[in-house]
Subunit: 311 residues, 2 copies
């Protein structure tokens, strides 16, 4: 698929790309680069690449494809470091959860002779670091490409083929539309999960120990989401501010209507909303983005935990 | 544990009590009663009891313990129907997710010669009906008892022993405190899950099909919660209005502070909140109310789905 693939950043996402590329022979050679020596050493122990260096400029020399998998706030510095060292025809991509701002950060620093094809694999877990990655992460998930107008179609297709080879389905849209879609499907869910866990931690009437003990009633699921990496998520909210604030406005408006229905005991309004939301759930199960099995906090042997342990 | 156990309502909770009582011999005889003949027939097919009747009054005759597992809004009618037929010394309990209001509904209709010990097993899934129940549901979960002042301690201990025999841990508190604890750990999480799924379904900028396709970014988990039974949840909000509105006020206040941090790019405030919330998550894993395994929508064979299939 690619002769030399360079991965900048080797956490959950970079580490998962490395594993699937290795397992399925998607690259002749995998070069791994990351900021800290400690993380690089761990990647080497896990055998994620063929060569390892903290020198990003050296890492991209001769690469056919470079995929940057770092928190979105670090995108510009990485682009600056690697831009001058990209070979003609190299494809440069990223995996950031935000797209318009990442394009603004990276594009100015990339040479005209490289092809910039921003991407976002819509797949993840609440864990991070090189140990958290696994080859199956992208299987049956969507990867969204947001190539700027005028990008070489062959380069876009080349990267799309790579993502399809990881098991992903590929869709193309504008960075702005991506940011709006992800604001509602990912960023706002994380924001409200972080928020309710924060609220619960600071109540006078209910102790933190009670919140923990009785979390099986629903709260528990929010804490899993709210255990996601603070750096990654800080950067998402700082760099997708407009779309997040717009969608949050909608959420709050609807929440006030719901609060009013509770206050005035409008059982019909509650019942109608609670019935409608089931259709969306069915849609998600029908397209295979979740299973109908109930999750009640007891992952069994053979599940994702095992996959993780196998690395 | 009990000579004759009568279950009024045989859905997820009643059906799970029936299965664990049968499996572990917690009752000499299990009498099953429910509103609709159709549900009763299904319970009989599943072999959940020893006798079956839609006549609730007849069902409770001679029962040592009666457990009512119906939507909380139906509690008063059930208490009215069964009250005159309870034998002296019978223990009457329920499993409602709301306690103060259920006590208000049921207590006036129960005879002085019966012992009323309200209960709430804090365990569940998003599924409902007799097929959804399983014997392991209560294992390692908390069951909260809220006996009115003056209740016979022996009756409370008898019911507590029954719940411990199902695998539950038992705690006692006032109905009012229960309702506050559950508002934050269960009712508000459900309310905001229903709300965001509703918001997502009505956007102009993002289609429902996009919401479904790209749900793996976090939204998916909310849809699971928002697929819970509409009748049960309508009743919870109608009957725990005060505590829900109080906790929702706190949630909204905190959400506005968070919105402000996003608007003014206060990365430190975001990072601080996102770091703190991890401590609560660790607490939940430490006490065994969830596992650290990442959930990414791929329940594997041998997991809860299998348990369910086995009934
Ligand atoms: N997690 C998800 O669910 C998910 C899903 C889709 C997309 N994404 C996107 O994928 C990207 C990476 O996320 P991840 O989950 O893989 O994160 P991760 O597991 O925390 O790994 C982050 C990687 O980026 C490096 N890094 C961190 N800060 C850096 C900086 N200031 N400059 C240079 N490198 C830095 C880290 O290097 P050192 O360890 O060497 O410091 C590490 O290799 C993010 O842009 C995120 O938005 C995440
Ligand atoms: N689901 C959870 O996660 C969970 C957890 C803890 C506690 N609870 C509480 O447990 C109780 C039952 O919930 P569930 O999940 O077991 O519900 P479910 O699966 O929907 O079963 C409800 C049962 O109640 C009966 N019922 C419904 N409406 C009734 C009415 N108006 N009058 C008399 N009977 C009626 C149904 O009878 P027919 O089918 O014959 O109509 C059925 O047997 C609720 O109070 C809920 O708050 C639920």
């Amino acid at each position: 698929m690619f002769g030399r693939l360079t991965l900048i950043g080797i956490g959950l996402i970079g580490g998962s790309i490395a594993r699937v590329a290795r397992r399925d022979g998607l690259a002749g050679e995998i070069v791994v680069s990351t900021r800290r020596q400690e993380t690089l050493d761990r990647a080497a122990e896990l055998g994620l690449g063929d060569r390892y260096t903290t020198d990003m400029a050296a890492a991209v020399e001769g690469a056919d494809c470079v995929i940057v998998s770092v928190p979105v706030g670090a995108s510009e510095a990485v682009a600056q470091a690697i831009g001058p060292h990209l070979k003609p025809g190299a494809i440069v991509s990223d995996v950031g959860s935000v797209k318009a701002d990442v394009v603004r950060q990276m594009a100015p620093h990339l040479p005209a002779h490289a092809h910039f094809v921003p991407a976002h694999p819509v797949a993840g877990t609440e864990h991070s670091g090189p140990d958290a990655g696994f080859a199956e992460l992208f299987h049956n998930r969507w990867c969204i490409l947001t190539p700027p107008p005028g990008t070489d179609p062959a380069a876009v297709e080349h990267l799309a083929a790579f993502w399809r080879a990881t098991g992903s389905k590929v869709e193309t849209m504008t960075p702005e539309h991506h940011d709006m879609v992800l604001a509602i499907t990912s960023h706002i869910p994380h924001l409200i999960a972080y928020n309710i866990v924060g609220t619960a931690a600071h109540l006078e009437q209910v102790t933190a120990s009670e919140v923990i003990k009785f979390s099986a009633g629903g709260f528990r699921d929010f804490t899993r989401i709210a255990a996601s990496d603070p750096t990654m998520w800080r950067d998402v909210f700082l760099h997708n501010k407009e779309a997040v604030i717009e969608m949050l406005g909608r959420f709050i408006e609807d929440l006030f209507a719901l609060q009013r229905a509770v206050r005035f005991s409008d059982g019909d309004a509650l019942f109608e909303l609670f019935t409608k939301t089931r259709a969306i759930r069915r849609g998600i199960i029908d397209v295979g983005q979740d299973t109908a099995a109930p999750d009640f906090g007891r992952a069994s042997a053979g599940g994702p935990a095992e996959i993780l342990a196998k690395g």
